[in-house]
């Protein structure tokens, strides 16, 4: 962000996020083929329920990541824009956090991630209204898991019940696993050691994940690219995800 030319004294005591431990992501829209593998992988990894056709059509699908695609013009003169996978932007100044009356939507000090504490959530859904990216999903029902799929549940991730809000966690269980592994081996986490499910599944390798506080990491290098844009940057939410466009 450019230096403010007029020196205005800060009158709003804002909570400032520290640099250390910031995880971030870069998504290359030019590489994305819109195959939805990230969506499927995320659902498998994070125990996301299948809501069925009717609810999905009514805007209740629970996916933490969605691939947006837009059309321009009328058929047959249709021009499609790039695919845009949208997930929680893990804002540095997240609008979802202050509005929760019960501290269910909180900022993790260690990973610099917006966390949703399912057990605290009472379901007021204010966080979802205040999220400019519309990436929060709500458990509108207790959806049934058809029989063999119950064996697929990931034991590292909580299964949520009806009435709570949830959203992308940057696969925090994988971050923790890698950190524990590194700690037991007496070393730092290596760049590329933590790969969230969406990045792991992406056949085009359009999603890169890593630490933004490490200037040598691949994700930091890519995020500095001049093709990088952030969604709704003008709102000042300080997203942790950079999209590369038109390289």
């Amino acid at each position: 962000m450019a230096e403010n030319p007029i020196k205005i004294p800060e009158f709003k005591a804002e909570w400032k996020e520290g640099e250390a431990g910031r995880w971030g992501m870069v998504i290359d829209s030019d590489l994305c083929t819109g195959c939805q593998a990230c969506v499927a992988a995320c659902a498998m990894e994070n125990n996301i329920p299948f809501v069925g056709e009717d609810d999905a059509a009514y805007g209740r699908s629970m996916h933490w990541i969605r691939v947006e695609r837009f059309w321009e013009g009328e058929y047959p003169e249709v021009k499609t824009t790039d695919f845009q996978p949208v997930l929680c932007q893990q804002c540095g100044a997240a609008p979802c956090e202050p509005v929760c009356p019960v501290f269910a939507s909180v900022h993790s000090q260690a990973e610099k991630i917006n966390l949703q504490v399912y057990n605290r959530c009472v379901g007021t859904r204010y966080c979802a209204n205040n999220c400019p990216y519309q990436v929060r999903v709500f458990n509108w029902r207790d959806w049934e898991r058809p029989e063999p799929l119950t064996n697929q549940l990931n034991p590292d991730v909580t299964v949520r019940r009806r009435g709570v809000m949830e959203k992308c966690t940057f696969c925090i269980q994988r971050i923790h696993k890698a950190e524990d592994q590194a700690k037991s081996e007496g070393r730092e986490v290596i760049d590329g050691e933590v790969i969230p499910a969406c990045a792991q599944a992406c056949p085009a390798e359009a999603i890169v994940f890593g630490r933004l506080d490490d200037p040598q990491s691949r994700v930091s290098q890519l995020a500095k690219s001049r093709h990088g844009v952030q969604l709704l940057e003008e709102l000042g939410t300080q997203p942790r995800i950079t999209y590369l466009k038109g390289a």
């Binding site: 609810d55 009514y58 805007g59 209740r60 969605r66 947006e68 695609r69 837009f70 949208v86 609008p95 202050p98 509005v99 929760c100 009356p101 019960v102 501290f103 605290r120 959530c121 009472v122 379901g123 007021t124 859904r125 204010y126 979802a128 209204n129 205040n130 400019p132 990216y133 519309q134 999903v137 709500f138 458990n139 509108w140 029902r141 207790d142 009806r162 009435g163 709570v164 809000m165 709704l232 709102l235």
Partner: protein, 476 residues
């Protein structure tokens, strides 16, 4: 003690109106009036029981039945979705808080300004506040995903070692509504004490026990009256800022959010005026029903009251139009692309008829009709206008909540909201409100008898030459 004298206003035809048209100038002996109010409480026709039984059934099925079903199934049975995470539940919350506002407004503000015509209907209005807030509170609880954990909103020491988040507008809202409910209940109860004592002295059986407990041993000594007047004076002044703050805070739930169409600085006063708009219309509607259905009420509630309330409705309608225009104008002129999309969606979207309906009901109809005294004093017409105003204000809240939520900054998620189980639940709250009101009308004196008697004592007619003059002495 001060005495004011004022001539009775002349009509344009030049003849004097009959002073007996005014309740304050048409006194009855105390005993007779007490008996009239007691009679109104006791006289219960079979129609009352039929209506009460029907409403009870509606409450059982539509409110508790549907709510239980929703709790078991999850909010999926309602129409809320992404992006309309808030739906009719919050529309109804804002609507009921609005209804509850006018009760206090009519009662406290008119008491503070010593408007004498308020005397017979302050209680009817205050009851609306309390019962309206009950519906508003229930609508919020319905809206919550895990209502069984709603007590986590209370700041209390707990084993989870968690305090509540006072940064959240919902927390402000929760505290404001609770404060208002407590304060308005006390404000309802205080002036009720002398009437409960009156009822205690005139009843037998279980009613005697009921009134004896509630009357707190009031005997009517001079000291008790002095304390009561003092307390009422404090409460009437103190509750007004509470009332303004509550609806302002409700509006902040929307106004502080990062959303096109919501993020508006004028929402506070706009919501307060909107609340008064629907609320005063509702007071008039309730009075019309009470007058038509309850015994002896034609003496207490008169065309002069409808006339005064009709004028109030017209003025508030003008104030609402001003705030609406101000809000709309600034948002439209700003030219933000999402706000533009939203305003276009309001007017030309699939529910555009609701936007126009809101303007017709809230502005056009009151402005075209309420300037006329004949319209204001005809109960049937005033009731219809009040109903339309309430419909218009409900539309307004519907436009602000689910319709505005449809449009956000991520067009990929735009999706229409179709209400589901919200509709029976909304009907249930309406039935519950009416049922509570009906039960209350049989349990407590709906007319503050002592206030009417006090007013009648303070008023007298005198002749100065050929001019009949009303003198009002200030009892405090």
């Amino acid at each position: 003690m001060t005495i004011q004298a004022q001539p009775i206003s002349h009509t344009h035809e030049g003849h004097h109106p009959n002073p007996r048209e005014y309740l304050m100038l048409d006194p009855k002996p105390r005993g007779e009036m007490n008996a009239m109010v007691m009679d109104a409480m006791h006289a219960t026709s079979w129609r009352f029981w039929v209506v009460a039984a029907f409403l009870g059934l509606v409450v059982l099925v539509c409110l508790f039945g549907a709510w239980g079903y929703m709790i078991m199934e999850g909010l999926g049975v309602a129409g809320v979705n992404r992006p309309s995470y808030w739906g009719i539940f919050l529309v109804n919350t804002v609507f009921w808080i609005g209804i509850s506002h006018a009760g206090t407004f009519v009662s406290a503000l008119l008491r503070v300004f010593k408007a004498e015509f308020r005397r017979p209907f302050t209680r009817a209005a205050e009851l609306m506040t309390t019962f309206g807030l009950v519906q508003a509170g229930m609508s919020i609880f319905m809206h919550m995903g895990r209502v069984w954990l709603s007590y986590w909103m209370f700041p209390f020491p707990n084993q989870r070692q968690l305090w509540t988040n006072f940064h959240s507008p919902l927390m402000w809202d929760f505290l404001a509504i609770n404060t208002y409910l407590l304060a308005s209940t006390m404000y309802l109860f205080l002036p009720l004490i002398p009437d409960l004592a009156m009822a205690r002295d005139r009843s037998t059986g279980w009613r005697k026990i009921f009134y004896r407990i509630l009357a707190l041993g009031f005997r009517g000594t001079e000291g008790e009256w002095t304390h009561l007047r003092h307390a009422l004076g404090i409460f009437a002044f103190a509750i007004l800022p509470v009332m303004f703050s509550v609806h302002t805070i409700v509006s902040w739930d929307f106004a502080v959010a990062m959303r096109p169409g919501w993020n508006s600085t004028i929402f506070g006063p706009y919501f307060v005026v909107g609340a008064l708009h629907s609320g005063i219309a509702a007071v008039a509607m309730v009075l019309i029903v009470v007058r038509a259905t309850m015994k002896n009420m034609k003496y207490f509630i008169r065309p002069e009251h409808f006339n005064a309330l009709g004028k109030l409705m017209l003025i508030v309608s003008m104030a609402w139009a001003y705030f609406f225009f101000n809000d709309y104008m600034v948002q439209w002129y700003g030219g933000d692309k999402w706000t533009d999309a939203l305003l276009h969606f309001h007017e030309a979207g699939p529910l555009g008829w609701m936007w126009f309906g809101m303007l017709i009901c809230n502005v056009a109809i009151p402005w075209l009709t309420l300037w006329n005294k004949k319209v204001r004093t005809t109960p049937g017409l005033l009731f219809t206008i009040g109903l339309l105003i309430n419909l218009g204000m409900w539309f307004e809240r519907y436009i602000i909540v689910p319709i505005s939520l449809t449009i956000n900054r991520m067009p990929f998620t735009w999706r229409e909201y179709v209400p589901g189980v919200e509709i029976p639940l909304g009907i249930g709250t309406l039935a519950f409100f009416i049922l509570l009101y009906m039960i209350a009308s049989k349990l407590i004196p709906l007319v503050p008898v002592w206030e009417v008697q006090e007013g009648q004592l303070a008023h007298s007619l005198r002749k100065f030459g050929k001019e009949t003059v009303v003198t009002v002495s200030d009892l405090e």
